[in-house]
Amino acid sequence: MKFSFRGKRISGLLVVVPANERSFLEDMKGFKVPEARSLKLKEVMGFDKRRVALPGVCVSDLAICGMQHLFKQGWLKSDEVDALLVFTQTPDYFMPSTSNIIHGRLGLKQDVLCLDSSQACAGFVIGLMHGFMLLEQESIKKVVLINGDVLSRKASPKDRSIYPLVGDAAAITILERDDQDSVIHAIAKTDGSRSEAFMIPAGGFRLPSTPETAVLENVGDNNFRAKDHVFMDGSAIFNFVQTEVPPLIQGLLAWTGDSIDSVDYFLCHQPNRFMLEKLADKMNVPYAKMPNNVVEHFGNNGSATIPTLMAFNLQKRLLQESLRVCFAGFGGGLAWAAMLLNLGRLNFNALIEYQ
């Protein structure tokens, strides 16, 4: 499905990561994997350090830390927030919504639209689309988009297919109208028939958490997890990405008349280095145009990976210049979405730690 937005822009970005750092090699020792094997995997996949929330820390805590930083720096005034969107798969509660909790703890004005959406790794691009749509309203001049997850809290410590890979973060993106009449193009796709490839089976109303759903089960390869834990069919997700994402991006480029050469960066979701290099190979995109180091420094922090990529790799450039950028998010749902836009001369672009 195609979308286009005129006269909108991303004006600022702040990423909040937990100060708590874990090491891939240390985690793998817990699985009794020979060090040589872990080192090979580290080299190929890029896994090294990841930032993980301490027990009890929720998405709202990371987001409020970031919002308070914005207010303190003078990058955003509290009465400028007209809409607060929270895209997360790990809300504080089933109800109320996390956006309302953040609104209340920050003491924002009552004239604010608060909205939560459950989106996985395509959540940044889909969140931008929602934000730009809201900016069509006369009364909404500034949208705060928060992409955050603390998925590490749902990963089984005995499941090496996911536990050593997951990171936590919250990214705050400010969207507003733009004097320049530039057009932002996006394409979004969904395949709910494959929704079980990435899920937390228990804890909702279909299968409520019970003592039974907390029991660890041997799921093969010496991995153990409970139905309360997050499950990812890594092989299915890998194949989905390699099959669906190249035509998505190629379709977007064809629509806008862009080419690989005319785009400065392809900023993709960051599951691991190997998957992104294979994606780049398939699309003939030079590796330098598709950075893949978020997982190496922060772990896979879900829908916050693309903002993390921007804040970590392009911090100064995006303050000083405008770049032609293609975002691509893909993952649970299954959902995949790409957006092509001129990005830059941001008012702020930073990464801070949550202590």
């Binding site: 094997r37 099959t243 190997f274």
Partner: protein, 76 residues
């Protein structure tokens, strides 16, 4: 240039791969090993195995892995 079986031996030195029909069913290669193997094959043969070809049936035994490598070599 190393052979496929030599590369496999480097990844999982504890196994004898040659006589086995299904590495996956026998638990000799998991998904992470497949990724490590693809990376090693790419480097060794100067190829880039397509992401869409990284599926368990292509890594069942020496013959299927060699067929995968040969398919990619033919494209280079």
């Amino acid at each position: 240039m190393k052979s496929v079986v030599e590369i496999l031996k480097e990844i999982r030195p504890e196994f004898d791969f040659a006589p086995v029909d299904d590495f996956i069913a026998q638990g000799m290669l998991d998904s992470f090993d497949m990724v490590t193997l693809v990376s090693a094959l790419d480097k060794n043969y100067g190829i880039s195995i397509l992401g869409t070809d990284i599926v368990p049936e292509n890594f069942q035994n020496l013959q299927t892995i060699e067929a995968l490598v040969n398919k990619q070599k033919a494209k280079v």
